[in-house]
Symmetry: C2
Subunit: 211 residues, 2 copies
Amino acid sequence: MAKQGRARVERKPAGEYHHGNLRRALLDATLQMLGEQGPDTFSLREVARRVGVDHRAAYKHFEDRATLLVELALEGFEALGTESDAELASTPELEAGARLIAIARATLRFATQQPGLYRLMTGPRLNADGRFPALEAVLRARMQRLQQEIERGVARGEFMQLDTLEASIAFWAALSGLCALVVSGRVRLRGDKLAAYAARTLGFTVRGFRA
Amino acid sequence: MAKQGRARVERKPAGEYHHGNLRRALLDATLQMLGEQGPDTFSLREVARRVGVDHRAAYKHFEDRATLLVELALEGFEALGTESDAELASTPELEAGARLIAIARATLRFATQQPGLYRLMTGPRLNADGRFPALEAVLRARMQRLQQEIERGVARGEFMQLDTLEASIAFWAALSGLCALVVSGRVRLRGDKLAAYAARTLGFTVRGFRA
DNA sequence: ACCTGAACACCGTTCAAGT
DNA sequence: ACCTGAACACCGTTCAAGT
């Protein structure tokens, strides 16, 4: 990989303790690094360097590299949930299709504003060995949110009688596939143009739900 | 990462040349490694070890680690295209929606049979710096295939008058989102059951295309 | 043309020791 | 409680040298 030009950050005088909350400082610095370069090249040693601490200090707060990343991913999912709910709240009383699109709008905004974090959340197999059930739980919660909205659409007679679990997976797949295209740079629209674009492309799937 | 227990493969007597096509041998061994553990932990040194060659020998055949992986990803896309076309050929004269589902069926089969390779093809930002335009080209070709089928559907009056590029992106997003769920183990169905499942979930999107 | 010895600058992780 | 010295077993990559 041959990284060079590492930031020659101030190293605190040897022997001193890190001021405040090292755990938080490491998470914040990691988030910033993700913003700069994505999750693939993240290194524990570099984040420690940035915080001005020996890299082994991190092991007092996180079991290992993966645990630190998972922690941040969980925070990301929490933020995504909050933003998604806020988007729904600011557009209340809409029909179910529009509410699904609102969730998509919030998700795409999140993905474009924090692409590194979003890629961490969806990308590498953080949970390859099933060590972090919390990750699965939080994903399931996201999908259940979709399912609720779809159930609402069925109840209101806007959607046909469909398997709401299958439909939620269909919408989830379409949405995350679109996010992947955006985050990878293959769809370059941003902001309102992206929102309108998403409304049209995901609109096909929603249209498939309709009675 | 702390890998241990590396296969103590026969090392050919020092000074001897690798028998046949080292380039091919490296690609094959890499493919096999992808099958075992996915792309994230792949290492140049280990693949060289498996082939029984010093790791620096690889640099005579590939500019660097990324180039080797891209080469394999390109072969993967080629195979995917072939299988997809074969699936279409074996189910000819169908209406456009069924043809889209046939492409999805082939793609899902490919993804489930070679999950490591599929994740390599779709996962890490191999082309982060735009070094490998061939990768973008091959992706574009895949999407154009979808667009052709959608145009066919419009021409035959099965689909409504829609923006065929947008529709192809919508279907691509839905399909690759579904593949991601399958490859990540969150959808566990395989074989015929998976095909039927995909036909239903992607069917929502296709239904949205219909006149 | 193909391969390697030796080296460089990185990794993640562990253990024992310091304050 | 929090931090580090020293070490281990890994990486990718380069250069000069061997056949």
